[in-house]
Structures are given as structure tokens and as C-alpha cells.
């Protein structure tokens, strides 16, 4: 084994030790949470053998399942609307020069930069004052969906714009030169080229919505609970492995969605 190259800091033992410690500390709590979801003990402290009963218990918990279905419904609806708005925003900012463009860009960045809690209270005030309550499912979820779309579509726009920035406008001009209208050129030439970032953006929108706690917490009514909000109330009520089981499921869905998004993004950069 020859000694590491001059700048190969990642190969030095002290750096490896530091990285190992870092990732251990980063992952230990999550891994322990997952492990204890299989713990055959009501208390979350000592290991008493493996069991799947808390998953069964979670499955039998109607309000938990309801929260889960709500979460998925909201995430999917948010994904569709948020992606649509995000993509047209990206195209608008990439394609056009128009008056007050800088100001529009600034306003579009606001939902990303202002503290979540401020966004949350704004939603609380808005829906309390001007939105009918006591709607039936799934209409009672619409306010949460609206809140989610408002803060997710700028993220989608950022992702799609990133790919648009590397795009050659001459493809579109070529299509128009060959007789396509601007619409057709956009649909035939532009959209296929930015498909990877649209899919990645959609998955990110899905995840952001599924994961959101703060904004949902302020928007959700008593009969429109999502999984993170449900977990929050369970955590405060009693800490049982059932919470771990519910959390584990949410973690797994998240990891799969993020992994997919990253793979698609990677293909984009390789292709």
C-alpha cells in the first residue's frame, strides 16, 4: 500500500475517524428509533426481543391509518399542482424577459426563505378567516394542499430551472424554424429535455409535503390530521414503540422517494 496522495485527505486515518464518528452520530438516533420499533417492550429503553406487534397495532389504529391516508392524498395532490406551477415558473423565468422580473423572482423566493412558523401562522389566519370548515373528505384536506403547494412549487421551480439553465435555446428555435408554433416547440422540444428534472422536482414536492410538520400543524383541523401531526400528538401523549413504527414507515417512504429523485437527477447529469 503506497501512502495516500498529497491531497487525498479523505484517505488519512484521522479524517476517516472523524467521518466515521460524524456519520455514527448522524445515524445512530435514527437507527435506534427503527430498531426499537421492533422491540417487544412497552417501554422504549431495554431490548426485550423482536416483534412486529407494534406495526400490527399501528395498522389497527384507525386514526393513524386515517392520518396516513390523508398524508398520501395531500402529498399526491400537492405533487401534481406543485409540479405544474413549478415547471411553468421555471419556464417563465428562463424563457422571458419582462418588467419587474427581479421583483417577481424575489416574491417567488419568499415562501422558501421566510421562517416556516411565519408561513404557518399566515395559513392559520387565512383559512380561519376566509375558508369554510366542516367540509367532507377529501375537501377538508384542500386547505393543507393549498398551503403545501404554496411552499413546494418554488422548490420545484429551482430544480427545473437548474436544468433549463444548461439547455441550448437553439433546439427550440430550430423547431420553430422548421415550422412549429411556440407552443408546439415547447411541448415537442423543451419538455422532453427537462423531463428528468420535472420528475425529480415532483418527487421532491411529494417528499416535502409528506414530511412537513410545521405548516401542516397550523393548517390542520381536528379531522384533517396528517401523519407527522399525528406522530407529534402521539409523542406528547405517550412514547410507545407504536410511534417508532409509524415513524419508521414514514422514513422508509422518504428514503425511497429521495433515492429515486437522486437517481433520476444523476441520469440527467450523465445523459
Amino acid at each position: 500500500m503506497s501512502k495516500p496522495a498529497l491531497l487525498d485527505y479523505a484517505a488519512r486515518w484521522w479524517m476517516r475517524l472523524f467521518l466515521a464518528m460524524f456519520f455514527l452520530l448522524l445515524y445512530a438516533p435514527i437507527v435506534i428509533l427503527i430498531i426499537f420499533s421492533f422491540n417487544d417492550s412497552k417501554r422504549n429503553i431495554v431490548w426485550r426481543g423482536a416483534t412486529g406487534k407494534y406495526y400490527a397495532k399501528a395498522w389497527a389504529n384507525d386514526s393513524l391509518i386515517e392520518a396516513f391516508i390523508n398524508s398520501l392524498t395531500i402529498a399526491v395532490a400537492n405533487m401534481i399542482v406543485g409540479t405544474l406551477l413549478g415547471v411553468i415558473t421555471a419556464i417563465l423565468l428562463w424563457r422571458f424577459r419582462f418588467p419587474a422580473k427581479k421583483a417577481v423572482e424575489g416574491v417567488l423566493a419568499l415562501p422558501i426563505v421566510i421562517p416556516e412558523i411565519c408561513m404557518g401562522v399566515a395559513m392559520l389566519v387565512f383559512f380561519n378567516k376566509w375558508w369554510p370548515n366542516n367540509l367532507v373528505w377529501p375537501l377538508n384536506l384542500v386547505n393543507i394542499i393549498i398551503a403545501h403547494v404554496t411552499f413546494t412549487f418554488p422548490f420545484v421551480a429551482v430544480i427545473v430551472r437548474g436544468q433549463l439553465a444548461g439547455l441550448n435555446r437553439e433546439f427550440e428555435l430550430a423547431a420553430m424554424d422548421l415550422g412549429a408554433s411556440e407552443w408546439r416547440a415547447m411541448i415537442d422540444v423543451l419538455l422532453p429535455q427537462i423531463k428528468p428534472s420535472i420528475i425529480a422536482g415532483a418527487l421532491i414536492a411529494f417528499t416535502l409535503s409528506l414530511e412537513d410538520f410545521v405548516i401542516t400543524y397550523f393548517t390542520a383541523g381536528p379531522d384533517s390530521i396528517t401523519l407527522p401531526v399525528k406522530i407529534n400528538s402521539m409523542v406528547r401523549f405517550s412514547v410507545t414503540p407504536e410511534v417508532n413504527a409509524a415513524s419508521t414507515i414514514l422514513i422508509i417512504i422518504t428514503i425511497v422517494a429521495v433515492w429515486l429523485a437522486m437517481r433520476i437527477q444523476k441520469e440527467k447529469t450523465n445523459g
Binding site: 395559513m123 393549498i146 415547447m186 407529534n232 409523542v235 412514547v239
Partner: protein, 305 residues
């Protein structure tokens, strides 16, 4: 070329601008404006309030008790940012110098917690910090090893006493660091990845040691990443409430907790609205400071973010 002028194709322009701008107006600007107006109202009855257009709520917000909470929030966020930077910088550096296969794996490993719900990750920390939790178990283990070594020398130490971590400021700060550290690493990594490594080789070639290379070349040239990382951690950490709620003690109240209580507990919307806007102004101040510092750091060179 003039093809990007919006007048050239108004139909397409309106199609890609009207929907989301309308959306933003109705579901973002109007709600924020409502909060702004409420902040000048007065609480009436149990849940009601009336617009009176005075500064009472803001004046109340600068009473010592709330001012100290603002100060505490700033202090906590600053501490969190500094810790995230000290830990995150070497991690980002190591990732950017890793071979390609490892780089992608490490990057994914940093990104996953970034996406996992902050609430769940905070909840996971409870198991670490509580009296009979992982941290105390680990310390006890080290203690017992130490004790047996000392016993071998004939020195007796008592048995391990569990330390109180949960419901302290330390746990709250550690929790915020834990939730926000990926936010620091990713922008730092982005700058380091684009950083031309031959600058480092040139410095070493010219006779600088590794430490002097770090301070004279790497650190100044990665400043834009440091600034971005700090702002990305600092700004959202100002508004945190559930982390301090779950992990912190009674004296770990941050401004986010106060806002939440005004809206969902005390039902004093006007005061909560005023606090929200103060928090937002604080955020904007940080962002403006960022853009000034960032412009300056770009002027003296460095890698664009």
C-alpha cells in the same frame, strides 16, 4: 436577440405566468398581509380581535421578558450555526476529496437525514438524551471501563450517576444542530466540489505547509460556501419551535415557541402576529447582511456559489 421579450409572445407568457402568480397572491401575499394587519389589532374576548392601528403589540414585544427571548433565540441560532460550521466544514472537505464512488455514497448519506422529518429526528433524540438513554448508557460504559482500570491501580470510584440531558438547553441546542447540520454541509460541499484543487497544490508547491495552505488559500476561497451554509442554517433555526419544545426545558423557550403559544394556546393573535413579523424582519436583516457580505466576498475573488 429579442426572442425572450415577453411582448413577442403574449399568449405563452400569460399562460406561464398568470396561474402561479395569482396563486401566490391569494394564498401567500394576502395571508401575510392579514397577519400584518392583525399585528396592529387588539385582542377582544376569547378569540376575537379588532383593528385599532396602534403599536401596542410591538411595544409589548420589546418588554424585557420577550426581548430576552429574542436575545436567547439569536444566541442559540448563532451557537448552532458555529457548531454546524465547525463540524460540517471538515465533513464537506472530506467528501469533496473522496474518490468518486465514495463521494456519491457519502453525499447520499448526508442527504437522507436532510429529508427525514425534523420532528421524527427530534423524537429519535429523546431516546438518546433521556435519563436512561443511549448517551447515559454510553457514558456509563466508559465510566465502568475507567473505573475498572482505576480499580486495578487500587483507586475506587463510585458507580455512575446518570446525567440530566433531556429538558436542558444543551439538549435543545444539540437537537437543532442535529436537525440542521445537513443544511450546512451541502452548500459547503457545492463550493468545494467546484474548487480547483490545483490552488492547493500551487500553495504547497510554493512552500506552504498543509495548515498554512488551509488558512491562506482554502479558507478564503471557500468563504462563499461558508457564508451560504451559515445563512441556510441560521435563518430557519430562528423560527424553530418543536425542537426546543420536545428536548428543551422550561427555560429553553425560543421565539418560535412564544409565537406558537400565542396562536394555538393563548389565542392572542395580534401579539403573535407582531412577533411573527419581528421574526420575519430579523430574517430579512440576516438575508440583507448575507447579500452584502456575499458581494464583498465575491469581489475579492473566490468561487461563485
Amino acid at each position: 436577440m429579442e426572442t425572450d421579450n415577453w411582448r413577442r409572445n403574449k399568449r405563452v407568457f400569460f399562460a406561464v405566468s398568470v396561474p402561479q402568480l395569482t396563486w401566490l397572491l391569494i394564498f401567500f401575499i394576502i395571508p401575510l398581509a392579514a397577519v400584518f394587519i392583525i399585528s396592529f389589532s387588539e385582542k377582544r374576548g376569547i378569540i376575537g380581535h379588532e383593528l385599532v392601528w396602534d403599536w401596542k403589540n410591538y411595544i409589548r414585544a420589546i418588554e424585557p421578558i420577550y426581548l430576552s427571548i429574542f436575545a436567547k433565540t439569536l444566541l442559540t441560532s448563532t451557537a448552532v450555526t458555529v457548531i454546524c460550521l465547525l463540524v460540517g466544514y471538515p465533513v464537506a472537505l472530506a467528501i469533496s476529496f473522496a474518490p468518486r464512488w465514495l463521494k456519491l455514497a457519502l453525499l447520499f448519506a448526508v442527504t437522507v437525514p436532510f429529508w427525514i422529518n425534523g420532528l421524527i429526528r427530534t423524537y429519535a433524540l429523546i431516546a438518546v438524551f433521556r435519563t436512561r438513554g443511549i448517551l447515559n448508557f454510553t457514558l456509563e460504559w466508559f465510566w465502568s471501563i475507567g473505573a475498572s482500570v482505576l480499580a486495578w491501580f487500587g483507586i475506587e470510584v463510585g458507580s455512575y450517576q446518570d446525567l440530566q440531558f433531556l429538558y436542558t438547553n444543551v439538549a435543545a441546542t444539540a437537537g437543532i444542530v442535529y436537525v440542521f447540520i445537513p443544511f450546512m454541509i451541502l452548500p459547503l460541499y457545492a463550493v468545494m466540489e467546484r474548487f480547483d484543487k490545483s490552488y492547493l497544490e500551487a500553495a504547497l508547491d510554493l512552500g506552504a505547509g498543509h495548515w498554512r495552505t488551509f488558512f491562506t488559500v482554502l479558507l478564503p476561497l471557500t468563504t462563499p460556501g461558508i457564508i451560504s451554509g451559515c445563512i441556510i442554517v441560521f435563518v430557519p433555526s430562528l423560527g424553530v419551535f418543536f425542537i426546543a419544545d420536545l428536548l428543551g426545558g422550561t427555560d429553553s423557550l425560543l421565539i418560535g415557541n412564544v409565537i406558537e403559544r400565542q396562536f394555538l394556546g393563548a389565542n392572542n393573535w395580534p401579539f403573535g402576529a407582531a412577533l411573527s413579523f419581528l421574526l420575519m424582519y430579523l430574517t430579512f436583516a440576516a438575508l440583507i447582511l448575507y447579500s452584502i457580505v456575499n458581494k464583498k466576498s465575491k469581489k475579492i475573488g473566490g468561487v461563485d456559489v
